[in-house]
Structures are given as structure tokens and as C-alpha cells.
């Protein structure tokens, strides 16, 4: 598999950037971290947009750099390679869209298309992002969501080797965000371009991420697939403690009960259909693939399946590992088929139930979960 190799060591003022990661050159990789963790700085380095003109005190001092993709070297401090932004085939979707105000939508989306001698199907992308009606409009006539759609088409039409998206939804209201998410998902279903997506919203991560790079205080501290990383990095859901992800697909919609049934590892789970009652949330369809995020503290374990319980979900699991947590708590890493399930249990329960690695038992959790 092709990989993006990213290695940067740089500083400006007091800020230290230290990034070392290899990420798959396909799918959506989310760069996740709090604001000020260096995400945007890293993106600018990748795109070659870092302050070439800044005065000395704000200038980024790059100690070491190595960035390559598909055997093309973009940055290499040892070989003194540093491609100009226009030499890099890296398209950028900015948070503030940056459409050219003196050009129509059509002229905007053709700007990169012409310059990169792109062979992509312009009409197909126009239809995919539903901007056919807007082609003769000027950017100031568009809504925020429309602008961002145009901006995505403009970036994609330049046939980039990498698409960078810097919190493309952050400046939009909730409804526009919900409406835009499916378009972003469609990028990855219909094109093979790798996407590097910056976000600090766990919901966006849950919905979009195939792969995650975690950033903290200028450092890339962990990377991996979403399901793995959730288990090893409580940082993702810091306040709520350890979390995990279950993947499956919708097998039935129980609308009268406000529930949906999810098929996961051969079991049917019941999940509250719309945990957040925000307007504009897209209804799920039968058969659609689904990811849910659960917190380890919401899972309990029992030796026998309880029939007379208010808890809707009971699945057989096997204990793989027991980790000591603080204040008499234990984190149990269990497997549900091929997937990982976590449970936070008190030390007392571990002793009472004589829990140990390899033991088969049942996990229970309520229907409340965060849906993708």
C-alpha cells in the first residue's frame, strides 16, 4: 500500500512542532487535536504555504523535514528539496473557502482544472456536489454551505495527489454542516484521492475517519485506525474516559420506538435512533453502514445473560486483557467477534466475579450511543 510519509521538526517562537507519521495514501485521515496543537501549522507545511515572507521573529525554523507521497518528494531538508506550493499537487479546502470573488463559480472551479491539465470529469463532479444551478453565480451570492461545496469541487478538479481539508465545516451552522457531511463522505467513496482532514469535533471524526493522527502540543502522539485508537487513546473522548467503536450496518428501523437495530458481529444491537434531536440530522437507511461510539463506563459485565433487565443489549464477549486504572477501577479489554469492546469495572466486581483473561461472559449496555 502507498503511504504518505510525513516527518517535520520545526519551531517558531516557543512553539515546537514534532510530527512523525506514515499514513495510508487512501481514504480519509483525520488530524485530530485541540486548537493550538499544531494541526494547521502542519497542513501549511505540507502545502508549502508556511510563512515565506514573514519577518524573522515569526519565521518558522525547519530543522528537519521529509515529506513524500507516491514516490514524489515534496520536502527533504537533507537533499535541500522544498517544492513551491504551485509545484505540489496538493489541493486545499480552507475553512474560509477562499473562492475568488471576481470569478463566477464556473471560473472558480476551472482555475485549477486548466492549470493542472486535469482529465477529471468536470460534469460528474458538478452533479455529485449539486452545483449545476450555481455555475454562473458569483461567490458572494452563495450561502456558506454552497461556497464550501464549490470550494471542494474546485480543489478536486485540480486532480490533486492529496486533498487537504482544514476544518471545512467549522464556519458553518449545524444544519449546513449536517448537509455537507455526506458530500465529504462521497469524495472518498467515488475518488481514490487521499484526504487529510483537520477536525477537533469527535462527531466528524467518528463519521469520516478511516485513519487518525492525534496531535497534542505540536506533537503527533499517536496514529492508527479509528477503532484501535479509541481503545488506546482516551484523549479522543477525554472527559468521558475510555471509549470504543462498534461497526456494523442498520438491519431494521424501529421508528415507533425511536430505535434502530444494528447488525454487528452476528448480533442484533438496539440503538437509540437519534441521540441528538437536532434539526437537519439525516435519517439513516436500512442496510447503511454504521459506527457507534460507546464509553467503557456505560458497559457492565455479567456471567449469565440477564433476561429481566431494562438494559437492551447483551452480547457474549471474551476478556483479552485487564488493565489497572486509578481508584480501584479496572479497564477490561474484551473481544466481541473481531471487534473490541471495553468495560470499566470496579476492583470489587472483578474479584467477586473472578474475572480473568480468557473468561467468557456477557456484556450489557443501554441503547444510548453516539451514532456516526
Amino acid at each position: 500500500m502507498q503511504m504518505l510519509e510525513i516527518f517535520y521538526q520545526a519551531h517558531f517562537n516557543q512553539f515546537q512542532l514534532q510530527v512523525d507519521c506514515r499514513i495510508p495514501a487512501q481514504g480519509i485521515t483525520v488530524l485530530f487535536g485541540e486548537s493550538g496543537s499544531g494541526k494547521s501549522t502542519l497542513l501549511n507545511l505540507l502545502a508549502g504555504l508556511n510563512n515565506a515572507h514573514e519577518s524573522a521573529q515569526h519565521k518558522m525554523h525547519i530543522e528537519q523535514a521529509r515529506f513524500s507521497l507516491n514516490n514524489i518528494v515534496y520536502d527533504d531538508s537533507e537533499q535541500k528539496i522544498k517544492l513551491k506550493p504551485w509545484q505540489r499537487r496538493i489541493a486545499y479546502v480552507f475553512q474560509d473557502n477562499r473562492l475568488f470573488p471576481h470569478m463566477t463559480v464556473l471560473q472558480n472551479i476551472r482555475f485549477g482544472y486548466k492549470r493542472r491539465n486535469s482529465s477529471l470529469d468536470q460534469q460528474a463532479l458538478i452533479e455529485q456536489f449539486k452545483i449545476g444551478e450555481l455555475l454562473q453565480h458569483y461567490p458572494q451570492q452563495l450561502s456558506g454551505g454552497q461556497k464550501q461545496r464549490v470550494s471542494m469541487v474546485r480543489a478536486l478538479l485540480s486532480s490533486p495527489d492529496l486533498l487537504i481539508m482544514d476544518e471545512p465545516l467549522a464556519a458553518l451552522d449545524y444544519n449546513s454542516r449536517q448537509q455537507l457531511l455526506p458530500y465529504i463522505e462521497s469524495i472518498h467513496q467515488q475518488l481514490t484521492i487521499p484526504v487529510l482532514y483537520v477536525s477537533h469535533d469527535i462527531k466528524e471524526v467518528l463519521r469520516l475517519a478511516d485513519y487518525i493522527v492525534l496531535m497534542q502540543q505540536g506533537k503527533s502522539i499517536a496514529q492508527g485506525e479509528l477503532a484501535e485508537l479509541c481503545v488506546s487513546q482516551p484523549l479522543l473522548t477525554r472527559a468521558e474516559g475510555p471509549s470504543f467503536i462498534l461497526q456494523g450496518h442498520v438491519s431494521a428501523l424501529l421508528n415507533e420506538e425511536g430505535l434502530l437495530q444494528m447488525h454487528c458481529e452476528g448480533y442484533e444491537l438496539l440503538i437509540a435512533a437519534q441521540p441528538d434531536k437536532q434539526p437537519g440530522a439525516q435519517p439513516l437507511n436500512n442496510g447503511e453502514s454504521l459506527r457507534i461510539l460507546l464509553y467503557a463506563r456505560d458497559v457492565s459485565l455479567c456471567l449469565l445473560p440477564a433476561d429481566n433487565s431494562s438494559i437492551l443489549n447483551t452480547v457474549p464477549v471474551r476478556i483479552d486483557e485487564i488493565k489497572q486504572q486509578d481508584k480501584g477501577k479496572q479497564l477490561l479489554l474484551c473481544s466481541l467477534g473481531q471487534q473490541r469492546l471495553l468495560a470499566t469495572i470496579s476492583q470489587r466486581s472483578v474479584n467477586n466475579l473472578q474475572l480473568e483473561v480468557g473468561k467468557q461472559l456477557y456484556a450489557q449496555f443501554k441503547a444510548t450511543a453516539m451514532i456516526k
Binding site: H53, H58, K84, P85, W86, A91, R98, H102, F111, S158
Partner: protein, 221 residues
Amino acid sequence: MEWAPILITLKLATITTLILLVLGTPLAWWLSQSQHRFKVIIESVVALPLVLPPTVLGFYLLIALSPQGFIGEFWSLFSDSTLTFSFSGLVIGSVIYSMPFVVQPLQASFETVGRPLQQAAWSLGANRLDTFRHIVLPLSSRGFLVAITLGFAHTVGEFGVVLMIGGNIPEVTQVLSIVIYDHVEVLEYQQAHAYAAGLLVFSFVVLLTTYSLNKKFRVRL
């Protein structure tokens, strides 16, 4: 009424404005983009004509343009004529004197375009020149309009510098403002009125047009 001073004035203003566009555009671009520590020095030098009495500027120009001065000496390598009391000398003087009226509006409009749009253009494969041509220039068209009108109008209204370096040679260096001065000196108010009123109306119309087109790019004094 003689037409020669009017023609000389218009010719001087046109040539000066054209030269200023050629020199001023890259200078204004550099000033708008650079964080260089010498930038403030260049900015101050460009703005000097705004505060210097024209006689001071004219005096130093007279020295520099004379055959012994550093510009005059350089000029004599290419030409037998002298720069002082010639139309070419007037052009050099006007270019310096009207520089801020072209550079400042251009710089302001370039700054308004800003780096973010340029970065977007770069990421779509446009190099610096391409970006300047297709993003910065079209978005600065009003800045150019202001720069051209102000540069032209200010050259038309020049007096002190011309008097110092151009003298008052009819049909060579005698411009409108000097003709008016001459008429007033010999108390020919009637003739002075004709020229003066014309200039007044001309200047007012130019400024009115400029400011109503856009308030953003006003010259910063």
C-alpha cells in the same frame, strides 16, 4: 489663450503616469508583501514628497540633474543635452514628486487582496506571476484607477519642482501652473482666471470621480 502650456502639461502628466505605473507597481507590490526591516525606510522615502516643500525637492533635483550631479553625469553618457531646464528633466522630477500618489493606492489595494486568496491560487497550480496576473490585478482594478487619476492630477498641479528644475521656457518646460504665476505677476488676472478656473474644475472632477468610485484607497497623508 495659448495651447502650448496645456499640451506640455498633459504630455508631462501622461508620460509621468505611465512611468510611475511601470516603476510603482512592482514597488507597491513589494511594499504590500514584504516584512523586510528596510520596508519602513522605503515607505518613508516614497512618502517624502508629501511633506517636503517642493522647493527643497526641486533644489536637490537641480543639483542631481546638473551635468555635475550624479543623475546628470549618468545622463550625459547617453545624450548631448542637459537634463536641467529640459522636458526630460521635468519628467524625472515629476516621477519622484508624484510617486506616493501612485504607490500608496496600489499598495493599499494589493494589501486588501491579501495572502489567503493568493495561497488558494498557488494550491491550484498558479505560480506567483500567474497569481498576480489573474487574482491580484483584477481585484486591484480600482486601486489602479485611483493611482492613475491621482498620479495624473498631481502632476498637472505641480509648480515648485518645475520652477526649480525646468525654469520657464515657453513651449519646452512652461506648464500651466507656471503660466498662471506669470500672468498674476504682471497683473493679467483675466488670463490667469481662464487657466486657473480650468484647472480648478479639472481637479475637482478628477477627485470627485476617484473618491466616489471607492473610499478605500484614499491617499494616506
